[in-house]
């Protein structure tokens, strides 16, 4: 394969829009999409209640038995849709944060954004039920958390590791607040919240899928539009300014987009840990690209979350685990490896 084919090329959409793509990135995204699709098909067909692959088109067209329709259309499909959407949202949010902080650990789940969104959602759902919709609560919580991290760390994005440590403190306080909120709840509500706090795709409905879909439709184009400027900002504020990009404004806009994405995703499936951390890292490695790679991060995040959910439901312990337990376990180990590798290279 010649060097010219490997390099970036322009993908033209009409006269005005052109996306800078690279062949490898496109291939990786397509392969990941196939993996995601395969995961979706396995999830729909697996188990006693699963629908055989041959009958799937009929059921999807509305011609299956009542039980089959319930399993596929009411139970598993919305769950998958939420998983794909939330995974993509986490992935893009992580890509933005890692680009802005120029650091893998500077991702939203490490700096307390997920916990903040969870606290906001818990406050909306338990302390003032019915007054504030839960997704709005999650958004407010995520914004309060990022503000607290920003103000607390004192130097903003210029000092990513300060942000990370401050974020750990903010996250701990947010989770303590969730405990307080749970005390105010009825026993049933408290159990629901406790399960949701792990990050779970259990009993999701089409309305949840719609929430995250709306967020993605609005925010993903914004993230894409910011992607190239973020790549310039990664080179340093002076270099970016020299190329005509307002570094400060780009960062602020990008962080707002990332916080909104995180809030939307947490609102529908809880603070699923480490998808935002791992997806952009894996995407970067697979595509071997240097920029934030929004599309690749989104596809990787979506694939990771539905894969992890399939794994969580099928672990051989007789229990259906919330997906967040699987991602936290695997993601924690991955973070440890990532840290060791970064430190070997002397990045800290």
């Amino acid at each position: 394969m010649s060097a010219a084919q490997e390099g970036p090329s322009l993908l033209r959409l009409g006269d005005r829009v052109a996306l800078l793509t690279n062949r490898r990135a496109v291939t990786v995204c397509l392969v990941l999409a196939v993996v995601a699709l395969a995961t979706v098909l396995v999830t729909l067909t697996i188990g006693d209640l699963g629908v055989p692959l041959t009958e799937l088109p009929t059921v999807l067209a509305g011609g299956g038995s009542r039980a089959q329709e319930w399993v596929v259309l009411t139970n598993r499909l919305p769950r998958l849709a939420v998983g794909l959407g939330a995974g993509a949202a986490f992935g893009v949010a992580g890509a933005i944060f890692q680009s802005v902080t120029r650091n893998p650990p500077g991702s939203p789940d490490v700096i307390g954004l997920g916990a903040g969104a969870a606290a906001g959602a818990a406050a909306a759902g338990l302390v003032w039920p019915g007054v504030v919709p839960v997704p709005a609560g999650a958004l407010v919580g995520a914004f309060v958390a990022i503000l607290a991290v920003w103000v607390g760390s004192g130097r903003g994005f210029a000092a990513p590791y300060r942000m990370v440590v401050t974020g750990i403190a903010v996250g701990a306080m947010a989770l303590a607040f969730v405990q307080l909120a749970i005390l105010r709840a009825t026993r049933e509500d408290a159990q629901v919240v406790a399960a949701w706090l792990n990050g779970s795709l259990g009993s999701r409905g089409w309305s949840d899928a719609a929430t995250v879909a709306v967020a993605l439709v609005v925010l993903l184009p914004l993230a894409l539009a910011l992607s190239r400027r973020l790549q310039l900002v990664e080179m340093g504020d002076d270099a970016a300014t020299g190329l005509g990009v307002d570094a400060g404004r780009t960062r602020t806009l990008a962080v707002v987009v990332a916080v909104l994405l995180t809030g939307a995703a947490v609102a529908v499936c809880g603070p699923v840990a480490f998808v935002a951390l791992t997806a952009p890292q894996i995407a970067r490695r697979l595509t071997r690209s240097s920029g934030p790679g929004m599309v690749a991060a989104a596809v990787t995040g979506a694939t990771l979350l539905v894969l992890a959910d399939l794994l969580a439901q099928r672990l051989p312990f007789g229990v259906q685990y919330p997906v967040g337990i699987v991602t936290a376990g695997l993601g924690g180990v991955y973070l440890a490896f990532l840290l060791v590798r970064e430190w070997r290279r002397g990045a800290v």
Partner: protein
């Protein structure tokens, strides 16, 4: 020398003359008495305040001549909790100070550095395998605490020696993985679920009567080892080379100190669950007036740790009436800002 290599004690260990240092010693000794008084106040609050207040006079009556009056019943239930709070507070605060000393890391805390999670995972594992009775023993918590401490230290050093941020991040990674393991075991095992839910965040409430007696030897032992190490910790604060030239075996001090901290943490986790930020906050407050001489730092921590834990427990009982906010959640509220403060003051080398 960059800020992160500078030990906290390098600032002003012995700048005052002999007379000044003697006066300072008297002042610190008097302060120690004041700390004892604070512990007494915290104990009094812990026994009297709650969903039903009991006047101090009735408490005294219930103590000297227990009968079946209401006050006696309440005091009998709150007294073990108070004693447990004292032990756990002392254990965690001293563990934090020792960890900060041996890693020369102002962000040292058993919760932040994954030792709590390791102890909790090991308790849950033993409970799942050998039943709830075996899981209550401190020995169930010790292996996990040691393993997690070792893992975090190894990941955080990455071949070149640890920095505060590396250790905290390594602690976050290890904690996440271990908490996931704990949740996974507890969801699959009803016995574990019942005992784990109660102390997932760290709570002094509803502990069984034997908890205090079980952890007492471990806490006392750990505290004595830590106190015996205070001179070695002072030398270590000067840097490994200086410490070695003073005749200290730095590696051995780290090992013994780490073992004592893990033991103290394991004891407190076995009794009340993972309580975070006590080990971070208390040494930071104490250092403000003792400086970083461990001969003063550690005794003050042993006294003010209980004040923080008992105080947090009382606050937890008051703010969420008629429910109770777990003590671990209150200490997170109180202690997490100290982490931010340490970062802002540049203590973490950031």
């Amino acid at each position: 020398m960059s800020t992160l290599d500078a030990p906290p004690s390098a600032r002003a260990p012995h700048v005052t003359g002999v007379r000044g240092s003697r006066a300072r010693s008297w002042g610190l000794a008097a302060g120690l008495l004041g700390a004892v008084a604070l512990v007494a106040v915290a104990c009094a609050l812990s026994v009297t305040v709650g969903s039903k207040a009991v006047p101090l006079g009735d408490v005294w009556g219930a103590l000297v001549a227990p009968d079946d009056s209401y006050a006696s019943v309440v005091v009998a239930s709150r007294l073990p909790r108070t004693v447990l709070g004292i032990l756990v507070g002392a254990a965690l605060a001293v563990a934090g100070a020792v960890i900060q000393g041996i890693t020369r890391n102002p962000l040292g805390d058993p919760g932040l550095l994954g030792v709590n999670a390791g102890a909790a995972a090991s308790v849950v594992f033993v409970t799942a395998v050998a039943g709830a009775g075996a899981g209550r023993s401190v020995w169930a918590a010790v292996p996990g605490a040691l393993l997690a401490a070792g893992a975090v230290y190894a990941i955080g050093s990455g071949g070149r020696g640890p920095t505060p941020v590396r250790l905290v991040l390594a602690g976050a990674a290890v904690t996440a993985a271990l908490v996931a393991l704990v949740e996974a075991i507890s969801l699959a095992n009803p016995t574990v679920f019942d005992s784990y839910r109660v102390w997932a965040v760290g709570s002094l409430a509803g502990r069984d009567a034997g908890a205090t007696a079980r952890i007492l030897p471990f806490v006392v032992g750990g505290l004595l080892v830590a106190l015996a190490l205070s001179r070695a910790l002072n030398a270590l604060a000067l840097g490994d080379e200086a410490a070695t030239s003073l005749g200290l075996r730095a590696g051995r001090t780290r090992l013994v100190g780490g073992f004592a901290a893990a033991l103290l943490t394991a004891a407190s986790v076995a009794a009340v669950g993972p309580v975070a930020f006590v080990g971070l906050a208390v040494p930071h407050v104490v250092r403000a007036f003792t400086g970083s001489d461990h001969r003063w730092l550690l005794p003050y921590c042993a006294l003010l740790g209980p004040v923080l834990v008992l105080g947090s427990d009382v606050v937890g009982r008051v703010i969420a009436r008629p429910g109770e906010l777990m003590v671990g959640a209150v200490t997170a509220f109180v202690g997490a800002p100290f982490l931010i403060a340490a970062v802002r003051r540049g203590r973490a080398g950031l």
